[in-house]
């Protein structure tokens, strides 16, 4: 956590506690925030035509570069919008179907900025932060996700 801003930017190999994210936003933004937007990205259950059901996603990160880029995104978002506090947490390792791999939370004075910053942060993260996911199927196969496909 950044001492100056109270932002929470984190990579973790543990399940992400959505309640903890919300209480962080409340603790650091309560009183001056009027709009709070939280985005959660979950592992979606799918069935592959030949490999069968999806068991889990496995995330691998270039941890040091990823966390540096996530901090930079937080700073860039702060430069673009009036943000009271924000959270960016991404999980690594195995993420079973129905659990979050990423949570972005933005508390701002008004909803328009909270929505815009939250949307921008998840889009930028998906585009540039060095994290990769592999789909692991019930049939035993596993495949790296190619975003271009």
């Amino acid at each position: 956590m950044s001492a100056e801003t109270g932002d929470l930017v984190q990579l973790t190999d543990q399940p992400i506690d959505a309640d903890r994210v919300r209480s962080h936003l409340a603790r650091n933004g309560g009183g001056s925030s009027g709009g709070v937007c939280i985005f959660e990205g979950w592992t979606r259950g799918e069935v592959h035509p030949t490999h069968g059901p999806l068991l889990r996603l496995e995330y691998q990160a270039y941890s040091q570069m990823a966390i540096e880029m996530m901090r930079k995104l937080a700073a860039d978002a702060r430069a673009k919008w009036q943000i009271v506090t924000l959270v960016i947490v991404h999980r690594t390792g195995a993420v079973p179907v129905g659990e979050p791999s990423v949570i972005i939370g933005v508390a701002s004075g008004h909803r328009a900025e909270a929505f815009a910053a939250c949307r921008w942060l998840i889009d930028e993260l998906k585009q540039s932060v060095p994290i990769w996911k592999k789909e692991v199927w019930a049939g035993g196969e596993s495949t790296w996700v190619n975003p271009a496909e």
């Binding site: 270039y62 990423v102 932060v129 060095p130 994290i131 990769w132």
Partner: protein, 81 residues
């Protein structure tokens, strides 16, 4: 000079190692490093056009000159989130 190249995601699986250590002449640029890697790991050839390189955790162009001790990484298309 000694350069360690970090591998991630599909590239790590193709190469079968997390890190590859290379002895390169001073003044080597990223483009030349790419050639050395393809020569040593022909499996990389198919996917190498889509990758980016980072040096000391910043994305770089392929004319970036490498220095002894640089932390280089091959960054295949990312898929976080």
């Amino acid at each position: 000079m000694q350069i360690n190249v970090l591998m991630f995601g599909p590239v790590r699986d193709l190469v079968g190692a997390e890190t590859v250590s290379l002895d390169l002449p001073a003044g080597t640029v990223v483009r030349e490093l790419q050639g050395v890697l393809i020569e040593r790991f022909p499996a990389l050839r198919a996917g190498i056009t889509a990758v980016r390189f980072s040096v000391n955790r910043e994305f770089v162009d392929d004319d970036r000159v490498l220095a002894d001790g640089d932390e280089v990484a091959i960054i295949p298309p990312v898929s976080g989130g």
